[in-house]
Each structure stands twice: as structure tokens, then as C-alpha cells.
């Protein structure tokens, strides 16, 4: 009756306990047999031994049952521990699903990973029983599918937006092109021209809106510029896209250019900031626009004299401007925040720094920093127009060796150059007639040596000639009438008249 189980300390005790009662009974029986009268000994012995046997049987049965109970209890404990362990694992896995796997899956999905990749990246770490693991996978999978469907819908909506914006941009560009043509065509008629300018402006505003939609849809704004554009023109380009550009004062501008790919984003971001500045300041106040060199690039400052930012508004703008990740369209609200959201997105894409701070005037001072790598040296400060300023030398290239003639030959001499002078045109454009006469000559006889003569030597003579201009035509006229050679006069050596003489 010695226990053989694992609980060594309890078993022998319980087994011994069951031995006590048969032993006590056996001792009592023996004592009773000895104490009984000799003739009663046999029945006493019978009774005693049968009682002892019965008690021993009962005891052994009790001991056996005790053993069974102990075994059962042991198994029960083991089972309970196993279940508890499983429960812990499940709980840990569910927690991990909520805290780690789902966020990671959604993050992966938002970055466009396919379902399989997402599932592979979100495998459970604990070894779970198959049924539970399968249920887990299916939960994850259905969530992933739902999110993917949602993302797809969002993508499709954004693509649709961008598509519409692109078409609008195309129409606006075409229209701007047409308007520009018309502006040149009707440049002489101030009434039509004024209306065309008005249309051009409206068209530019529409274009900015289309650009904003494209930017919010995750695309780039508008057209792309191949060449760098001087900052001055970039700033004026930004001004031309807001409603109240007349209120913007363009002050000192650093003499640099913006590289082609960054031109449109900078123009657009500045246009949005300028729009905010003019929109939220009283109509009679001015908005100041400057661009200065700083260590890390160029800082464009827009300062208005408006109501300024409340603390709450500033927190909100800072939040919009510094928002990482994707834009929440629900968050945009009304128009002003739309502008800031566009600026914020452009700034993030092109590494522009934008900050809105209170201005000394009480309004807002918006600073946009264009980093050094988007800045280059300006080839033509002032842009195309300033480049056109070098055109007179080009003209002298066309007519080598000849300077732009003073006004005298433009009026009087032509009349005398022609053997049969053409009647004065009713259009009153005498200088055009003059050109028809002598202009081809320099390219004919005697033109070669003039062509050798470089244009630059002629240029320095220009400033000293200029002051004499007002009276010169008369002198030239007189000399022309006198028929004298003009060679001795160095300033006029190349004018039309000597070329006539050579003829």
C-alpha cells in the first residue's frame, strides 16, 4: 500500500493511515481472544478475524480511491495549467493584433504593398493551435481587404481629381496662349486690350485653382519650366495669380534664378501665401514682398498688415504646415486652409521651409525659404525683357558697322536718296521708307570692311552722341543739302549718307 505517485510526501502518510484501523482491530481481537473464557475463544476469534478482514478490505478500498482521486486532481491541475497558458497566448496575440499587426498592415497598404506581402509581414509570433491561428489570419485578411478597398477608392478619387485638374490646366494654358496672342494682336486698341488683360487675369486665377486641385491630388502643379527663371519673374509670376495683385509691393529681390523644375512649385506656393496675405488684410493696406539672401538659400518674405493670427489659428496653421504623411481631406475645411494645405504639400515635396509668424505691423509675416539647391545664378536678371534690352547691338549686327542712325536721316535724307522719291505715305512712317533704300547697301559693295569692324567699338560712341540728339537732325539735314562728305565726322562715319556717296 505504499504510494507510487509523484507526491511522495503525502502518499505514504495516507496509506499508513488506512493501515492503522485494521491493525488496531487485529490487536483488539487478539487481546479479546486472550481475555475471553476458553470455551468462548473460538467464536470471539471468528468474529474478530472476520471484522479485521472486513475493516482491512474497507481500508484498502479507501486507500485505492484516495489514490485515484489524487491522480485525477493531478491531471486536472495539469489541464488547468495548459488551458491557462493557451489563454495567455491568445490574449497576447490578440493584443499584438490590435497594437502591432493592424497598424503595420495599414501602413504597408497605404504605401501600396500587395495583400500577400502584407500578410507575410504580419505573421503571428506565437505557435498557436491551427484553428485559432486560421481565425486570426482571416480577421487580419478581411481587415486588409477592407482597407485596401478603401485605399483603392481613395486613389481612384484622387486620380479622378488630378485628371480633371490636368484637363482644366490644359484648357487654361491654351486659353492663356490664345489671350496672349490676342493681346499682341489688339495691342493698339486700349479698350480691347484692357478687356483682354481682364480675361487673362481671370484665366490665371482659374489656373491656380486647377493647380491646387492637382497638388492636393498628389500631383505636381501645372506646367514645367525647362530653363531657370530669374527670381524677380518668379515673384511677379506669383503676383499675377492672385486676385489683388495691385496691393502687392515688390521690393528688393536677390539677383538669382530658380531652377526650372522648382519654378512652378515656388510660384504656386508663393501665390497661395500672397493670396492669404491679401485676403486677410484690409483692402487699403499693402502687402510687402521681398526676397533676401540667407545662409541656407533665399528667403522670400510676405508681410501683411492684417489682423494677424490668433494663438488657435497659429497652432492650426503650424499643424497643417508641419503635417507629416498624407493629407486628410476632411481636415481641410474652407478655402483658407486649402491654400495652406497646398503650401504644406509643396513645401514637403520640394524641401521648402514655410513659417507664419506675427508681423511687426500686426499682421502675418510669411517666410518661405527656397533651399540652395533650387537656386542658381541668374543669367538674365529681369528675364526675357531685360535680355531684350541688348537688342540694339543685335540690330547693329544685322547692319554691320552701322550704328542706329540719329533721327535726321530718318526724316529728311530719305527724300533725297531716291532719284524719284516715292510720295509720302499716308501712314506717316518715314523711317520705314528709309530702310528700304539704304539698308541693303551695307551688305553689298563696301560692306565687307564694315562688317570686319566689330560692333563694340561703335557702342562706346553712343553715350556721347545721345545728348546732341535733339538738334542733330537739322545739322544732318544741312549737311545733306550741302552734299558734303561726312567722312571727317567720326560720329557719323557710318550713317546712311556716306553709303550713298559710295554708290
Amino acid at each position: 500500500m505504499v504510494g507510487t505517485g509523484s507526491s511522495v510526501q503525502r502518499r505514504p502518510v495516507s496509506a499508513l493511515i488506512w493501515l492503522i484501523s485494521p491493525l488496531v482491530l487485529a490487536v483488539c481481537t487478539g487481546t479479546a481472544i486472550l481475555a475471553a473464557a476458553p470455551d468462548a475463544r473460538v467464536p470471539v476469534a471468528w468474529c474478530g478475524s472476520s471484522a479485521t478482514v472486513a475493516v482491512a478490505l474497507a481500508s484498502s478500498e479507501a486507500a485505492r480511491r484516495g489514490r485515484v482521486i489524487a491522480a485525477l486532481r493531478r491531471r486536472c491541475t495539469e489541464q488547468e495549467a495548459g488551458l491557462r497558458y493557451q489563454l495567455d497566448q491568445h490574449e497576447a496575440e490578440t493584443r499584438r493584433l490590435a497594437k502591432e499587426l493592424l497598424p503595420r498592415a495599414i501602413h504597408l497598404l497605404q504605401r501600396g504593398a500587395p495583400t500577400e506581402v502584407v500578410l507575410r509581414h504580419t505573421l503571428p509570433v506565437h505557435d498557436l493551435e491551427p484553428g485559432y491561428a486560421a481565425a486570426h489570419r482571416s480577421v487580419l485578411k478581411s481587415v486588409i481587404e477592407a482597407v485596401q478597398a478603401e485605399e483603392g477608392l481613395r486613389d481612384a478619387a484622387q486620380r479622378a481629381f488630378v485628371n480633371i485638374a490636368r484637363r482644366m490646366q490644359a484648357i487654361v494654358h491654351q486659353q492663356a496662349y490664345d489671350i496672349r496672342e490676342m493681346e499682341h494682336k489688339h495691342g493698339n486698341d486700349p479698350d480691347v486690350f484692357g478687356d483682354l488683360l481682364h480675361l487673362d487675369h481671370g484665366n490665371a486665377l482659374t489656373g491656380r485653382l486647377a493647380d491646387s486641385i492637382a497638388v492636393l491630388g498628389g500631383s505636381r502643379p501645372g506646367r514645367q519650366w525647362k530653363n531657370e527663371i530669374p527670381l524677380y519673374n518668379v515673384l511677379r509670376g506669383a503676383m499675377s495669380r492672385i486676385l489683388e495683385y495691385r496691393r502687392v509691393d515688390l521690393h528688393s529681390v536677390a539677383d538669382v534664378a530658380v531652377v526650372g523644375p522648382a519654378v512652378e512649385p515656388v510660384i504656386h506656393a508663393l501665390a497661395e501665401l500672397l493670396d492669404n496675405a491679401t485676403r486677410y488684410s484690409p483692402p487699403q493696406t499693402r502687402v510687402h514682398l521681398t526676397a533676401v539672401d540667407i545662409q541656407s538659400g533665399i528667403a522670400v518674405e510676405i508681410e501683411d498688415a492684417g489682423v494677424g493670427l490668433t494663438d488657435e489659428a497659429r497652432r492650426r496653421t503650424d499643424r497643417v504646415l508641419s503635417r507629416e504623411g498624407d493629407l486628410d481631406l476632411d481636415d481641410l475645411g474652407e478655402a483658407p486652409r486649402l491654400g495652406l494645405a497646398v503650401v504644406s504639400r509643396l513645401a514637403r515635396t520640394y524641401n521648402l521651409l514655410v513659417s507664419l509668424r506675427p508681423s511687426a505691423y500686426g499682421g502675418v509675416r510669411a517666410v518661405l525659404v527656397i533651399p540652395m539647391d533650387l537656386i542658381t545664378a541668374s543669367k538674365h536678371p529681369g528675364g526675357d525683357i531685360a535680355r531684350a534690352a541688348k537688342l540694339p547691338p543685335i540690330k547693329s549686327k544685322r547692319r554691320p558697322g552701322q550704328k542706329i542712325p540719329p533721327p535726321a536721316p530718318q526724316t529728311a535724307p530719305p527724300m533725297m536718296e531716291h532719284p524719284i522719291p516715292p510720295p509720302l505715305g499716308d501712314s506717316g512712317l518715314p523711317q520705314r521708307r528709309r530702310r528700304r533704300g539704304p539698308a541693303p547697301l551695307p551688305f553689298g559693295r563696301g560692306a565687307a570692311e564694315r562688317r570686319e569692324r566689330p560692333a563694340p567699338p561703335a557702342a562706346p560712341a553712343a553715350p556721347e552722341e545721345a545728348p546732341k540728339q535733339p538738334g542733330m537732325w537739322l545739322a544732318a539735314f544741312n549737311r545733306g543739302i550741302n552734299g558734303e562728305s561726312l567722312e571727317p565726322d567720326p560720329g557719323r562715319a557710318n550713317s546712311d549718307i556716306p553709303s550713298d556717296k559710295e554708290e
Binding site: E183, G260, A388, A389, M415, A466
Partner: protein, 121 residues
């Protein structure tokens, strides 16, 4: 210039629009005598503080140029140019000289006769 057709995504040019050059005006407030054949000549060197277009005109007009010529060189419509020139004239940067009226010119044949007579002397 400032825009292109939808076909070409990149184009040279300038992002400026014409109305920016003149502050949105299409005609001068006061009547000017500038027309296509008015001659423009600068009175001074280009001032660094001038708007690039103004500076360009001042530099170009070191020699007299007609409004039509300036307009062609700068590729600016005459109305815009007239406004720019009006500002320059008002700021005494350039001087505008109307062309000699046709009626004031002496008769060509008379001049020719005079010239021939002088040459025969």
C-alpha cells in the same frame, strides 16, 4: 510667351503676365501723345532701381527708337508699352519726340531741285 499649348509640357519664356507690368491698367489716366512713330530717347543712364522693363527701354533708347520699334524688340503690345513709356516720361527718364508732321516737310521735288542747283555751282 508666358504660356504654351497643352501639347508641350515644358516651354521657355517667362511666368509674368502682361497685366503685372502695368499694374492692371490698359490705358493711361491722362492723355498721352505717344503713337507708333513717336521717337523715344533716354535722358539718363538706366537707374538700378527701375523695373527691368523700364531699365530695358532706357538702355535701348540711348539712340532714338520709335514706339513701334521698341514694341517689336521687347515683344510687348503697344498699349502696355505706351503705359510703361508714359511712366518713364513722367519720371523724366526718357523723352518723347513726336515725328515731323508730313505737312511740315518741304516739297521733295523742290529740295531735289535745290540740291541739283547747289551741286552744279
Amino acid at each position: 510667351m508666358s504660356t504654351e499649348g497643352p501639347g508641350s509640357p515644358t516651354a521657355p519664356g517667362s511666368p509674368d503676365r502682361l497685366y503685372i507690368l502695368t499694374g492692371g491698367q490698359a490705358r493711361a489716366e491722362r492723355k498721352t501723345e505717344l503713337d507708333l512713330v513717336t521717337l523715344i530717347v533716354s535722358r539718363s543712364e538706366a537707374d538700378p532701381g527701375l523695373q527691368p522693363e523700364h531699365a530695358a527701354i532706357v538702355r535701348m533708347c540711348a539712340y532714338p527708337l520709335s514706339v513701334a520699334e521698341i514694341s517689336a524688340y521687347l515683344e510687348l503690345p503697344v498699349s502696355t508699352l505706351t503705359l510703361l513709356l508714359t511712366e518713364l516720361v513722367a519720371g523724366r527718364h526718357v523723352e518723347a519726340r513726336p515725328p515731323v508732321p508730313a505737312a511740315a516737310l518741304p516739297d521733295v521735288q523742290l529740295l531735289e531741285a535745290v540740291m541739283n542747283g547747289l551741286q552744279k555751282l
